[in-house]
């Protein structure tokens, strides 16, 4: 496999923007997206005509959502590219934007994730391959089964599992862009069973929203006179898909191990160097599984460390300071792009009460049906 051009030509985050994640509303997807893009343009201090290409990530909108949305900003004739990669659609949009700049094709590229909670039509269910469970294993039950295995192996209690949601709802309560903005007690989290150990507040909400990231070459950062300290740099951008997994193994965790290791190798850092993480915590057990798969701690250690505050803002590594998928929300297309927004905000030191002190390196992690996985590692801009 060849070297990613990112190792030769640095790519910076120059502008970030969001439309708050929210429950289904009458707002069109185009309006959601335009709000996020306008905020990112204003944040970067550039105009729409300065953007040379756009990558639109969505999973549920159907064919060709990008041009009609972006034309509201002006019919500039820029290159528009649509990507769909399930839950990782927004992450993949960022990865493609980074590649466009790193390769030297463009200097200023927009990645925008946008979605509305439309009915799912999942291709693997139409692949002509039957399954014994016959549609009984919804995503929350898939992860409930993984949780059952983990609980049996490591003695994880339902209270320890629910503590993940207590932390992430606390973070979400401090995030004005989060879909769920309410501090929750352990008793509240434990109420309302869904599947296995999961309750309603241990499952990500269904919603809509938009997130935008403008990435730039170093030349463009200089040309537009942007402050380097406000332009974190991508140190790794890695996409992988599921390989062979031993029977009974956890495909999402195995895939995360593979993808993360490649990202750490590319960035030249390790898990202990990471100060802030936004990860795919659609269900509480995922945060436990992926903290260990990413190498932040050993098997069986994630939950006990959570109890010590290691994953809190101000702890060893702030995990899902935005509130994560559990509280910030998981509107699919925007989610991975929104993770980069949060990490960039953290690395700039602009996250307010959610700020991880002294954050230098941040990591984003998403998995998607398939399974696919995308990991980005970013470093604070020069001061």
């Amino acid at each position: 496999m060849g070297r990613h051009p990112l190792t030769q030509r640095p790519v910076h985050v120059a502008g970030i923007g969001l439309h708050r994640y929210q429950s289904r509303s009458a707002t069109s997807y185009a309006e959601l997206g335009v709000v996020a893009v306008r905020e990112a343009l204003a944040d970067a201090g550039i105009g729409w005509p300065d953007v040379e290409a756009a990558v639109v990530g969505s999973a549920l909108l159907g064919m060709a959502p990008g041009r009609i949305m972006l034309a509201r900003l002006g019919a500039s004739g820029l290159s528009i590219n649509q990507v769909e990669n399930a839950s990782a659609s927004g992450s993949t949009a960022v990865a493609q934007a980074v590649l466009m700049v790193a390769s030297g094709l463009h200097d200023v590229v927009l990645a925008v994730g946008v979605d509305k909670p439309e009915p799912w039509r999942v291709a693997p269910a139409q692949a002509g391959i039957g399954s014994l469970e016959g549609g009984l294993v919804a995503p929350f039950t898939h992860f409930a089964l993984l949780s059952s295995q983990y609980q049996a192996e490591h003695g994880l209690t339902v209270e320890q599992l629910a503590a993940v949601a207590v932390k992430n709802h606390r973070n979400g309560a401090a995030n004005p862009y989060a879909q769920r903005q309410k501090v929750r007690t352990l008793d509240e989290v434990l109420d309302g069973p869904i599947s296995g150990p999961f309750t309603r507040l241990q499952c990500c909400p269904v919603g809509e929203g938009a997130a935008a990231v403008i990435v730039m070459s170093a030349d463009a950062v200089d040309r537009f006179g942007l402050k380097p300290a406000r332009c974190p740099v991508f140190r790794a951008s890695v996409q992988r898909s599921q390989g062979f997994v031993e029977p009974g193994g956890n495909p999402d965790a195995v895939l995360t191990v593979d993808t993360a290791q490649r990202a750490f190798d590319m960035a030249g850092v390790g898990p202990r160097d990471i100060d802030v993480v936004e990860m795919h915590d659609a269900f509480t057990i995922e945060e436990i599984l992926y903290l260990e798969a990413l190498g932040f701690c050993g098997p069986g250690e994630a939950a006990p460390l959570l109890e010590t505050g290691a994953w809190d803002v101000g702890g060893r590594c702030a995990v899902s300071p935005s509130g994560g998928l559990l509280a910030m929300g998981h509107p699919l297309g925007p989610t991975g792009t929104g993770q980069v927004v949060e990490v960039a905000r953290q690395l700039r030191g602009e996250a307010g009460v959610r700020q991880q002190p002294g954050a230098r390196y941040g990591l984003t992690h998403m998995v998607g049906i398939g399974a696919v996985c995308v990991v980005h590692i970013l470093e604070k801009g020069e001061t």
């Binding site: 014994l132 469970e133 929350f140 039950t141 089964l145 059952s148 049996a152 069973p193 869904i194 009974g248």
Partner: protein, 77 residues
């Protein structure tokens, strides 16, 4: 493609009691299990007729067809 037939008997490696389901059948709550078949493969299936309180990791199960011709696993022993 050749078919390889394996006995539908094995042990539960994971279980979940499902309280929310989009379809009316089966009625909730029902139990979904992951099973390590004695022959090697790992499968997931409905565990028919199980009380949620009695399913245990390591419990023995076997495949069975009900009166309507529907296949699922049931607890044995």
């Amino acid at each position: 493609m050749e078919h390889t037939f394996v006995p539908a008997a094995g042990s539960v490696t994971a279980c979940a009691v499902v309280h929310h389901h989009v379809a009316p059948e089966p009625p909730t709550p029902f139990v979904v299990v992951e099973i390590a078949l004695d022959a090697g493969p790992v499968v997931r299936s409905l565990l028919r007729g199980a009380s949620p309180d009695t399913v245990v990791i390591g419990g023995r199960v076997t495949g069975a067809v009900d009166d309507a011709g529907r296949f699922a696993f049931v607890a044995v022993g």
